[in-house]
Amino acid sequence: MSTINFAAREINCKIVYYGPGVAGKTTNLKWIYKQVDDSVKGEMVSLATEDERTLFFDFLPIDLGTVQGFKTRFHLYTVPGQVFYNASRKLILRGVDGIIFVADSAPNRLRANAESMRNLRENLQEYNLSLDEIPMIVQFNKRDLPDAMPIEMLRAVVDPKGQFPFQEGAASSGGGVFETLRAVSKMVLERLAKSK
């Protein structure tokens, strides 16, 4: 992965992990980084505070390989979930191709999930984008918590219209991490193939 010469045909997809603070976005990315083969992953870059909260973004490039003559690559980003950091979140959303919305199953984060989803819609709107066009999957994370909220209840709050596919996750032990990424990647690539 060094110089790109654009005579070579490449496809680059930007996938963004969105969602409220401490929901587990960075944890998803760390798991992917730990598990995938060295030959397909680049370095992981994390801009975080002392206490490991994302400050600007995490970034991890993944090479899928060559598809029909196109070198295909995913750029995975996480945003900072804390409400405070909206300016950074907006910057990261620029050029997004697919979104993984990581929701927190902890009962006291119900409201934070809803607020983050509203914030996502608002930020997309500033780029004239909407969730009707950008592929998105919801990951209900922290299913391992003994007091995890029931999925139906979470879904009613995060996605009342039942519009988005979802996946259960327990990212700190890897649960659902790859399933979620694979699902959104497929949606992104299918949309790519269709739009042409």
Partner: protein
């Protein structure tokens, strides 16, 4: 799909490379790169004597992130843009300056290169390269022939990538 903002190949790519090479030699810097504001590495050159550089993708992503934050700051403060950025450590220095609208020149040097010299030759490169970039059209999207086969193939590769996980 995110695409590099500048379609740099063929003759233009060769010219950029030549300009970066000249910068390397004349200013005696370690690495000279052209990246775009989205974090793509468009061209990279390193001096023969320089140690192996850190991951270029990481550098480019951080430079682009930094540039995005800086330009958001400039706008907040009512400026169109802030010019060149120089970071100087004990041994290593970093110089970043906008090229045209979408490009960024990144120069990494050490104590063997006086900063004045780096800036002088960087400006010269910027002039050459911005002229070149402005004469290029915008990126043509590579939409040609993606179709069902593409989706199927990609899907198979995805399954492969995540096999057994």
């Amino acid at each position: 799909m995110i695409e590099p903002s500048i379609a740099l190949y063929g003759e233009a790519f060769a010219k950029v490379t030549a300009s970066l090479d000249e910068l390397l030699t004349k200013a005696h810097v370690r690495y000279a790169m052209l990246v775009d504001r989205k974090g793509f590495v468009l061209a990279h050159r390193e001096a023969l004597w320089a140690p192996k550089p850190p991951t270029l993708d990481s550098i480019a992503t951080l430079i682009a992130g930094n540039a995005a934050a800086t330009s958001a700051l400039a706008k907040l403060l009512g400026e169109r843009r802030f010019n060149e950025l120089v970071h100087q450590g004990e041994r290593i220095g970093l110089y970043v300056e906008e090229i045209s609208n979408e490009g960024l020149l990144v120069v990494i040097f050490d104590e063997t290169a006086p900063i004045g010299r780096v800036k002088l030759f960087a400006k010269k490169s910027i002039e050459e390269i911005s002229g070149l970039i402005d004469s290029l059209g915008s990126v043509e999207t590579t939409n040609a022939d993606l179709g069902n086969d593409f989706a199927l193939d990609a899907s198979a590769l995805l399954d492969d990538l995540f096999k057994g996980m």
